[in-house]
């Protein structure tokens, strides 16, 4: 075995954080293909006109379809998604990135914006599940 600077499983030790890997990228391939399709104005219109019908063009899982319809970004990340793809969806909705990101925190968009104006979320207690620091 080659030695590593740290055990790779430690990447799962960070609270509230999902590391985007090659495996996740593949699981979300069709979801991400949908997201990137929204970089075209005509596709955005087609999606807005009938979200379900538009999603049927892609080979996404039903869980992924449902999470898109519900704009459940935490769930989409559970299902392999990465935020840089997912903001194509929130941009299509006219949401700011801040609003999309705030929706994953359990805070309202206003509460989250206020936290950011006050200096953001402290890393204290947020570094390691194991160490609790």
């Amino acid at each position: 075995m080659r030695t590593r600077l740290y055990p790779l499983e430690d990447l799962n030790d960070i609270p509230g954080t999902t590391v985007f890997t090659a495996k996740r990228s593949r699981e979300a391939y069709h979801l991400h293909k949908f997201c990137m399709s929204l970089m075209d104005a005509a596709n955005r219109e087609a999606f807005k006109a009938d979200e379900r019908a538009y999603l049927a063009r892609f080979r996404m899982s039903e869980e992924q379809n449902q999470a898109v319809l519900e704009r459940d970004f935490n769930r989409l990340i559970d299902l392999g998604g990465n935020i840089y793809f997912l903001v194509k969806l929130s941009n299509t909705d006219g949401w700011s990135t801040q609003k999309a990101v705030s929706s994953m925190t359990g805070m309202t968009a206003d509460e989250y914006a206020a936290m950011m104006r006050a200096g953001g979320r402290s890393p204290e207690g947020q570094r390691s599940k194991r160490e609790g620091n």
């Binding site: 600077l5 740290y6 430690d10 990447l11 960070i14 609270p15 509230g16 954080t17 999902t18 590391v19 985007f20 890997t21 090659a22 990228s25 391939y29 991400h32 293909k33 997201c35 990137m36 929204l38 970089m39 075209d40 104005a41 955005r44 970004f73 935490n74 990340i77 990465n82 935020i83 840089y84 793809f85 903001v87 194509k88 969806l89 929130s90 941009n91 299509t92 006219g94 700011s96 990135t97 801040q98 990101v101 705030s102 994953m104 925190t105 359990g106 989250y112 936290m115 950011m116 104006r117 200096g119 953001g120 979320r121 402290s122 890393p123 947020q126 570094r127 390691s128």
Partner: protein, 284 residues
Amino acid sequence: MARITAGVATSHVPAIGAAFDQGRAGDDYWKPVFDGYEWVKQWEKQEKPDVVILCYNDHASAMMLDVVPTFALGMAEEFIPADEGWGQRPVPVVQGHIELASHLAEQLVIDEFDLTLMNNMDVDHGCTVPLSLMFGQVDEWPCRVIPLAVNVTQFPTPSGNRCWMLGEAIAHAVESFPEDLNVQIWGTGGMSHQLQGPRAGLINPEFDNAFLDGLIDDTDRLRAITRLEYLRESGSEGIELIMWLIMRAALGKDVEQLHRFYHVPASNTAVGHIVLRPRELVTA
């Protein structure tokens, strides 16, 4: 002979681009951010770089779906601003520099950096927001740009140390280019931020400021920061800071800081900005 005369680093937050494009730069929220770039805008007018090698990451605009290159060098004559879901930014098309890009493509592969070469790609806010911050509102960008996209999203990303070594190789490659060119290298992205999950909104000013300090006189420490440490300390998107190490390494051993700025927040992100000159080029 081409020369790297300065290094510039900045965050590349998309909301900064939106505020800039929509004329909100003077708003109470945004004014402190844009004020932090007034110095560099005046400085760039005097520096007049011929070419900028612009290290940035693509945000699922031209890459990341079908191909996930670790280091991708922009070889095209021009790069169109991408439509990221709300139309293209109303900014000039980015003009490439084929001769220097081809030279880099050759020299860096010979130096064992197995680059991906991009003959056709759009560039997103990662590339165009730094250009807006340095050059302001212009009809055309005042210099050529060679985009160098780094995978900082899909794990494993390159290590910070690997980025450092790439920066050193870029410096050698530029030095061996025969044409007399004033070249700058920019590192973009960062500083601390996290855009996903319940930990979103993380900001770590202590880590960020220590990173800014380290660019001047503690680069060995920065080279040793692991991917895990970036994630823990600077958030899942804070690892973009490895791109600043490409810039820093290309400037050689000793640098002078010409300007530095730090501000929280811009949208979800801590904004950092630094301008560095290789010490051997600093005139008293």
